[in-house]
């Protein structure tokens, strides 16, 4: 890591880890630099991975290249044969001032990476995680993420995950999570895969929400070529006044396919849930949406909306009347939908 200085215009206020500090980390310099370059491609600021004030974890394949803790946050990472086991603990009452940055990747063209993770967000704590998963050279890479997440009472966890899979479509990504949100807790997850190819994506998150808890799941993906996307978002609203949103925005072109299953259960009095799925298809792409709403308490209320269609003609013609050609106009519309 070598004690590089933080970019003065972006991180002037952050002190940088000293060479001695970075030397203590199990970094492997060349691979670290490769993964950092890839991290930048998903919008990450490399200086964050070197700052001692920012929680960070850098994993390439099954190697832990860097890890940093701050008071109140513990990060344990253990190398496995095909991946890494990670445990992140945020102590009760800890309010993380800056988002934690997690960087996962596979630099070679082929490989398997399994991330088995556990997150424990203590009572009253608040933490945001920004995960960057990059497979820039992938021809045949399989990335499996299995997470168990516990958001304590009145705690809040935000998990934003941005992927870059390169341009060949040779990546298979299987993110799975089981999340438990305690009373008054709040869990927000946003999974974004809108740059480059998708390859195969099988997203499957299940969240159990206790009384007054909130869960929000958002998936955004842009498939092309013969990409195949499966999204399954399940929210069980088990406690009184629990709330949940399962939202997906999928755009497809060429021969890409997608199936989105958004399921929300209202199992307790005054639980409120909503499933919101929009898919745009072009060319020979095929999209399915299966919203599932289930209510087990007559005081609960769960709604859904799903729309699949091609690009709106009026939007398209409006942009073309500004001089954009059809492809450019479609791209603006789809990027906008994925941004929203």
């Amino acid at each position: 890591m070598g004690g590089s200085k933080a970019s003065p215009d972006t991180l002037a206020e952050l002190p940088v880890a000293t060479p001695a500090e970075t030397a203590r980390r199990p970094a492997r310099f060349g691979e670290f630099e490769a993964i950092v370059r890839s991290f930048e491609r998903t919008g990450g600021n490399p200086a964050l991975l070197r700052s001692p004030q920012v929680v960070s974890l850098v994993i390439s394949g099954n190697k832990v290249l860097g890890a940093n803790e701050v008071p109140g946050v513990h990060v344990e990472a253990q190398e496995l044969e095909h991946g890494v086991q990670v445990k992140v603990i945020v102590e009760p009452g800890t309010r993380l001032e800056r988002p934690a940055h997690l960087c996962f990747g596979v630099i070679p063209a082929e490989g398997v990476q399994e991330i088995l993770s556990e997150f424990e967000i203590g009572e009253g704590a608040k933490a945001e995680f920004i995960a960057h998963c990059t497979f820039p050279n992938a021809v045949k890479v399989r990335h499996l993420m299995e997470a168990k997440i516990h958001v304590g009472r009145e705690a809040e966890m935000i998990y934003r995950e941005t992927h870059y899979h390169g341009e060949t479509g040779g990546v298979e990504v299987i993110p799975k999570a089981e999340v438990a949100v305690d009373e008054g807790g709040r869990y927000t997850s946003e999974f974004v895969l809108t740059t480059g190819r998708v390859g195969k994506l099988a997203f499957d998150y299940v969240v159990d929400v206790a009384a007054r808890g909130v869960a929000e799941l958002v998936v955004k993906a842009y498939g092309s070529g013969d990409d195949a996307i499966t999204v399954k978002e399940t929210i069980h609203l088990n406690g009184e006044r629990a709330r949940g949103l399962a939202k997906s925005r999928i755009a497809l072109r060429d021969r890409a396919t997608a199936e989105v299953i958004g399921a929300t259960e209202g199992n307790a009095p005054y639980a409120r849930g909503h499933v919101d799925c929009i898919e745009i298809v072009r060319d020979q792409a095929v999209a399915n949406a299966v919203p599932i709403v289930r209510v087990r308490d007559d005081r609960a209320h769960v709604t859904h909306e799903a729309a699949i269609g091609t690009v709106n003609k009026k939007e398209l013609e409006t942009l073309m009347a500004r001089g954009l050609d059809e492809e450019e106009a479609v791209d603006v519309i789809i990027r906008g939908m994925l941004e929203a």
Partner: protein, 250 residues
């Protein structure tokens, strides 16, 4: 530019779903001119706008459209736009996730923050309040229409077709729109103003009246406005048809 006209429409006919929508439309606009096209709802004004812009489903079955001397009848929308022709829709589209600043910049040749802000100010909207708002359902109808006009103004086209820019706008705002139209003309943009409100006509240099898909009167704006007010509100053609039907002559 043949005959010095920026836009020439010659004997234009349009059919949609077996119905004759436009017939024998002739129109000529000089550069820098504000031309008001007046007519009741359903008279074919918007169809003419879409046909001039080249929208899908609005290909004329007869006639030609010349823009700066070039026959643009076979050209798609974006190629017409690149020649300097654009359209502000009567009910503008909404764009999820697209910010006003980016929307305004789309059609601009030279994109600068100053010019984007200037376009918003030209439609009496505060840049600080609107630049980062999305062009989506959160905008009111009036706000969206103003932003559409700002986008057209920002583009600095040679010819702007404004389809009912005054609809859904309160009376006080009509002055803002009138000022913007004159400003566009002063800065070199010709304006084809499509409206059914005769109080908008004084802003124009020339005017025409459209009825049942035909241009039935062309000339001085005040003369066309008076004719419209006298014979079209209420519509004498519709009354004559109703009378003929009632007496079994139709």
């Amino acid at each position: 530019m043949k005959n010095g006209y920026l836009l020439q429409v010659n004997d234009l006919h349009l059919q949609r779903q077996g119905r004759q929508i436009l017939r024998r439309v002739h129109l000529a606009m000089a550069p820098g001119q504000v031309f008001a096209l007046l007519g009741r709802n359903g008279s074919g004004k918007s169809s003419l706008a879409y046909t001039l812009m080249g929208c899908v489903g609005y290909t004329p079955c007869q006639g030609r459209i010349l823009f700066a001397g070039q026959d643009i009848t076979p050209l798609p929308i974006n190629e017409r736009a690149r020649l300097g022709l654009t359209l502000a829709w009567q009910e503008p589209a909404r764009f999820e996730g697209l910010k006003v600043r980016d929307y305004l910049a789309l059609g601009m040749g030279k994109r600068t923050p100053e010019r984007i802000a200037e376009a918003l100010e030209a439609v009496a909207l505060s840049p600080a309040a609107y630049l980062d708002r999305p062009v989506d359902e959160t905008l009111s109808g009036g706000e969206r229409k103003r932003i559409e006009l700002a986008a057209v103004y920002a583009m600095r086209p040679r010819l702007a077709i404004l389809d009912e820019p005054d609809s859904g706008i309160d009376v006080l705002s009509l002055d803002d729109i009138g000022r913007l139209i004159r400003r566009m003309a002063d800065e070199g943009t010709s304006v084809l103003l499509i409206t059914h409100r005769d109080e908008m006509v004084p802003v124009a240099d020339a005017a025409a009246l459209m009825c049942e898909g035909e241009i039935v009167r062309v000339g001085d704006p005040e003369e066309v406005r008076r004719h419209y007010a006298r014979h079209c509100v209420p519509c004498e053609v519709a009354e004559a048809v109703e009378e003929a039907v009632a007496y079994g002559r139709f």
